[in-house]
């Protein structure tokens, strides 16, 4: 297979471009979107590349249509993605829940910009962390990844597709306007260097009759593909193992939703990913996700030069969240700081995890600029 961009070598590209290339290498062959700053370059790249890899790139009437289209494409057997920013992500919330309920593998990219509403189109923010986790209604579970470099934007996109396929779930990539538009040197691997996961298909007629069952006792049912010989019923209503709506029996609803939780949470050790930086002997911990992690690493280095035993925990997955590990960390350190580009979102998760074992302090920043390292340092040293 020939790719419409160089593989097996480094390139100097924007975060948006890295996400598009990674999606194609991960096997994405259907993209539907609606242009919006700062995610439009993902769409532009997909419009350029998709016809060259026998894929489909389609502009929909809006973001509601975009996510609906990729859900349909996924049921037709394609790996599918859409990308947007705040206002569009809000429009996608209902169908994000539909993807959770119908256990549809999709990847939704949200390059965060200042909000609420149309807010600051060209400036970065981390104001959608809680929305990515809890934006759609009802009890639900999904996976949220958050890159801090252009290389991570590439790597996490591949991982997003693999997790979506493996757990039959929507996966959200939370980037931001800074990562979207900045260029860095990125290694684009050869296809044979990348691990690719494909969804489980029904092994036989029996499995195909239970597209929402649990024949392998791992919480993840095989997914029949439209047009491949099986009759399948797909609905957002509460349904039984066969997919038939059964909305008035409490035990049916509980069985379905608990399995959707279980298929992710039983595998959370495999899904959750973080990087530690100088954390082993730390007395002060900084916990970050996404773009702010870069300033936090610099802040830790400066603090160490000043004989403050600081360390960083950089969360690559925002959800599911490792509350237990945060509690362990809180037992080790005296204080935890949470710098984030919002008025306090990740902070609440960290505080819940710390469970009173250490003080947790928010370092909020809004307006469109990433924290400088010194802004973090000055808060830590007081």
């Amino acid at each position: 297979m020939r790719y419409p961009f160089p593989v097996g070598k480094s390139d100097f590209i924007q975060g948006d471009e890295a996400i598009a290339r990674a999606a194609i290498l991960a096997g994405c062959r259907f993209y539907a979107g609606y242009p919006i700053t700062p995610a439009s370059e993902i769409f532009e790249a997909m419009a350029l590349y998709m016809p060259l890899v026998d894929g489909v790139c389609i502009q929909m009437e809006d973001e509601i249509g975009s996510i609906a289209a990729i859900i349909g494409a996924s049921w037709a057997g394609a790996k599918a993605m859409t990308a947007t920013s705040g206002p569009g992500f809000s429009l996608m919330q209902e169908n994000l829940g539909y993807a959770v309920m119908t256990e549809t593998p999709i990847v939704v990219v949200n390059m965060m910009r200042g909000g609420p509403s149309t807010g600051q189109p060209t400036f970065p923010s981390q104001g959608d962390i809680m929305q990515a986790i809890w934006g759609t209604h009802g009890d639900h579970m999904l996976i949220v990844l958050s890159p801090s470099t252009v290389q991570e934007a590439f790597d996490f996109t591949i991982r997003a597709f693999n997790l979506a396929e493996k757990y039959r779930t929507p996966v959200v990539i939370l980037g931001d306007a800074e990562i979207a538009h900045m260029r860095e040197r990125v290694y684009i691997p050869n296809p044979d260097e990348i691990e690719i996961v494909n969804r489980k298909l029904p092994a036989n007629e029996e499995e195909a009759k239970l597209p929402f069952g649990d024949p392998h006792s791992d919480g993840v049912p095989p997914m029949p593909i439209f047009g491949k010989g099986y009759r399948t019923y797909v609905t957002g209503l509460t349904h039984d193992e066969r997919g038939k709506p059964r909305t008035v029996e409490p035990e049916v609803h509980e069985r379905l939703i608990r399995r959707i939780y279980r298929k992710i949470l039983d595998h959370k050790d495999e899904i959750i990913s973080y990087d530690k930086f100088m954390l082993d002997d730390a007395e002060v911990a900084i916990v970050t996700t996404g773009i702010v992690s870069r300033s936090a690493i610099r802040a830790v280095k400066i603090l160490r030069e000043r004989d403050v035993k600081a360390g960083l925990l950089k969360l690559n997955t925002v959800w599911p969240f490792d509350f237990d590990y945060i509690e362990e960390l809180a037992e080790q350190v005296e204080k935890i700081y949470v710098p984030e580009m919002n008025m306090g979102q990740l902070y609440h998760l960290v505080k819940e995890g710390a469970n009173g074992k250490a003080d947790v302090e928010l370092i909020p920043k809004i307006g469109g600029e990433v924290h400088t390292p010194m802004e973090i340092v000055e808060r830590v040293v007081g």
Binding site: S10, F12, T122, M182, R183, R185, R294, V370, P373
Partner: protein, 170 residues
Amino acid sequence: MQIRLAGIGGQGVVLAGVILGEAAAIEGLNVLQTQDYSSASRGGHSIADVIISKEPIYDVIVTKADVLVALHQLGYDTVKDSLKENGLLIIETDLVKPDRDYLGAPFTRIAEETTGLALTVNMVALGYLVAKTGVVKRESVEEAIRRRVPKGTEDVNIKAFRAGYEEGLR
């Protein structure tokens, strides 16, 4: 090394930053390039930041510039405070009146004399910058120009770059 390029929209400041970044990437260096521009396509300030290092890069914008290249007074006034006290200021001497020590040349005039096109001023300034700092090799920049400028304009851009480079060697 933190390098900041500042001018107004239409001077090709961001493209110069991208090409400088690409040249560093070609040499296997770590590099980050970001930009800040007003919404006007011409006339507003336009800033391109390039950070080049053998070490991992954590900054996302230039905090203390080692080098500031100013092609227009508006860009200079916007970001002059970000240049280190002992940093290198390079200016378009016809268009910027600086308030500190500087190097520079009338880049726009050189562009017009060399290629007949004032809009190649970005390549002239880039050549001058590379000659003065040696931050990347001349050959890497020429390769980056070939990759990044519109097809058919490679030669004229490289000609402008070389003119700036020669000026920088004086």
